[in-house]
């Protein structure tokens, strides 16, 4: 399949043109798959049932399974191809937050055989025995040697692998450089400019992890700190900046596009999309720190069809499949085999694949940060002030 993909006679330039046309909705996914050759890979896959699935998989996969995941996070063809190859129909449940996924699994009877949690929830799930330690022998397509250990290690708890990485990204900020001339390189700059040149034009997330985390970073403190004295400093800064903010809202694309807002905390995918359509919008990673995140695949302990869960996970770890997932959702991949399949236009996009050096100061959010009551109360005081 890898070979088919590489042999398709399409130039990287043309690939990107078609990719952007498709992203803008000018052409259909089917047309895109056809002209780029990705459709060929799909066709090849479905012609050989079991391709991409370990042939040693003699056990019965049943006829259906469910996956819980995020909006617009998959190429729909992925599941169609899996069904064609294995006969297992995949029901896709879409969620808006990790907290909802956790609540559903805790309540029992969620019925998922695979789901997509974010890094900072893995240890909580493992601690509550809601997810299984993975049997890597059932996932031969997973290749530890080509994975970036920074990402695989977040899927481990005490050396045991509970989850395998899907896509990763960063939390930086987007700046409309046509409106804001001040040079911005750090979170310290972000908050300073928000109170001056960008008065009434800056947005922060409606999410304590990133909003409090970035405020802490701008003060030279730890992104994940839950120390009361650190949080008190962050609170002082946030309350000071609040009257100057345009909004506290994680849905910042509409306001950035309408130029109501000139600057916002921003996730990788949104940064890439904004910059693609409005080149004057730059995406900046704080030199003083910030968040790096990764979404994972994990199998719930309560999975009704674990065999199919493993089969789909193995299918998704196939680089030929993962590359299409990457193209569908725009977030970077963790497996160098997948990156090798991407056209240089994508891999040279500094928003999607920043320099390693700019990633060094970034931190993963911690489970304790997310569930800390002190941070939750700080956020409520910030929002109600």
């Amino acid at each position: 399949m890898t070979k088919d993909f590489k042999d398709t006679p399409i130039t990287p330039d043309r690939f990107m043109t078609e990719f952007m046309r498709w992203k803008r909705g000018s052409i259909t996914r089917r047309h895109f798959m056809g002209v780029t050759g990705l459709g060929l890979a799909t066709a090849v896959l479905s012609r050989f049932p079991g391709a991409g699935v370990n042939p040693a998989f003699a056990e019965d996969l049943g006829t259906q399974m469910a996956i819980a995941t995020w909006p617009n996070y998959h190429d729909p063809a992925t599941f169609e191809n899996f069904t064609a190859a294995t006969g297992v129909a995949v029901e896709v449940n879409v969620f808006g937050s990790n907290e909802e996924m956790l609540a559903k699994l805790q309540a029992g009877g969620a019925g998922w055989s695979l789901f997509v949690p974010t890094n900072y929830t893995i240890s909580t799930y493992a601690g509550l025995k809601l997810i299984d330690a993975l049997d890597l022998s059932k996932i031969p397509n997973f290749s530890p040697s080509t994975q970036n250990p920074r990402f695989t290690s977040e899927g481990m708890v005490d050396g045991t692998t509970y989850a395998l990485p899907k896509n990763w990204g960063t939390t930086g900020f987007a700046v409309n450089t046509a409106e804001l001339k001040a040079p911005l390189t750090s979170w310290k700059d972000f908050f300073a400019v928000a109170m001056n040149e960008a008065d009434g034009r800056a947005m922060v997330h409606d999410y304590q992890l990133t909003t409090i985390g970035s405020a802490l970073v701008s003060l030279g403190l730890d992104f994940n700190s839950t120390k009361p004295e650190d949080l008190a400093q962050a609170e002082k800064l946030l309350l000071e900046v609040k009257p100057h903010l345009f909004a506290i809202n994680s849905d910042y694309q509409p306001s950035m596009r309408s130029t109501d807002a000139w600057m916002t905390m921003c996730w990788t995918n949104d940064g890439a999309q904004l910059n693609r359509d409005m080149p004057e919008i730059a995406y900046i990673l704080g030199t003083d720190g910030g968040e790096i995140w990764t979404d994972y695949y994990a199998i719930p302990s309560s999975a009704p069809n674990k065999a199919a869960g493993y089969a789909l996970l193995n299918f998704l770890m196939d680089p030929a499949v993962a590359v299409k997932e990457h193209i569908a959702n725009g977030a970077p991949a963790t497996d160098s085999r997948v990156i090798a399949l991407l056209p240089p236009e994508i891999t040279s996009n500094k928003i999607v694949y920043p320099d390693e050096a700019s990633l060094t100061p970034l931190e993963f959010g911690a489970a304790a940060t997310l569930t800390d009551p002190g941070r939750a109360e700080l956020m409520a005081r910030f929002k109600s002030a």
């Binding site: 609540a103 409606d206 345009f246 309408s258 109501d260 489970a367 569930t371 956020m379 109600s384």
Partner: protein
Amino acid sequence: MALSAAARKRWVTAALLAPAGLWLFFFLALPFLAILVFSLGERAPAGGYQPALTLANYLNLPARGAAFLNTALLAPVGAALCLAIAYPAAWFLALRVDPRHRLLLVALMIVPFWTSMLVRTYAWMYLLGARGIPQLLEMIGIENIRLINTPGAVLLGIVYGYLPLMVMPIYVSLEKLDRRLLEASSDLGARPMSTFLTVTLPLSMPGVMTGVALVSILLLGEYLIPQMLGGGKVYFIGNALVDLFLQSRNWPFGSAIAVTLVLGVVGVLLITMRIAWKVSGTRQMDLV
């Protein structure tokens, strides 16, 4: 088996009431009981609920005092604004419009309800955003107008969103109004204004109070409009609940706030209905 006529009547009544009764029991009473139990519990270390028997969550209510205060201001102001706009509209529809056009006009009033509130509020985000009305104002020389993410935008969204809920009950109570009373009033020498104040208004009070109750109760739980048109900078109880259940997963504290909110709603209902009974001198309920 021979049942007496009275016994059979009782059985029929019970059977007819059973679906609604079971519905209320399973989807109102039981969930409320669960919320009540949650509100006396503790937050589990990873979030959610763990059993306990404590009033700590209720004692912690002042931590969301600002949210309660904002909501307590928003609900009456929003309802009053809706009323000020809805009453003349309903009066016009019920008493002045040519009956041939009435159905069409009433339908037009309800049509926006066919589209999701989320979609309509999103549309307002674009209308009030920099590329919307402010850009038009710029063309005629009025510059640097900020409409979106202001308290005014939140009020506008509220009035827009809830207006039909206020118009309809008032319209219904005015439409039933016995026109002969108006004629009698004017025959007896009352001016139009005093006819309105002494006849029309009191007779429409059940509708007014139903509308006020409907709108303020929904406003007490409002979350979407302050979030989308207020930029999330103004915090209402609805927003506090969303954060507690979906972000910090402090279900017991969220439940305590929800129970308090329900008590507030019951209070609003009691007050508005009592005013309506007193003014109209009847206990006839005009819920649409």
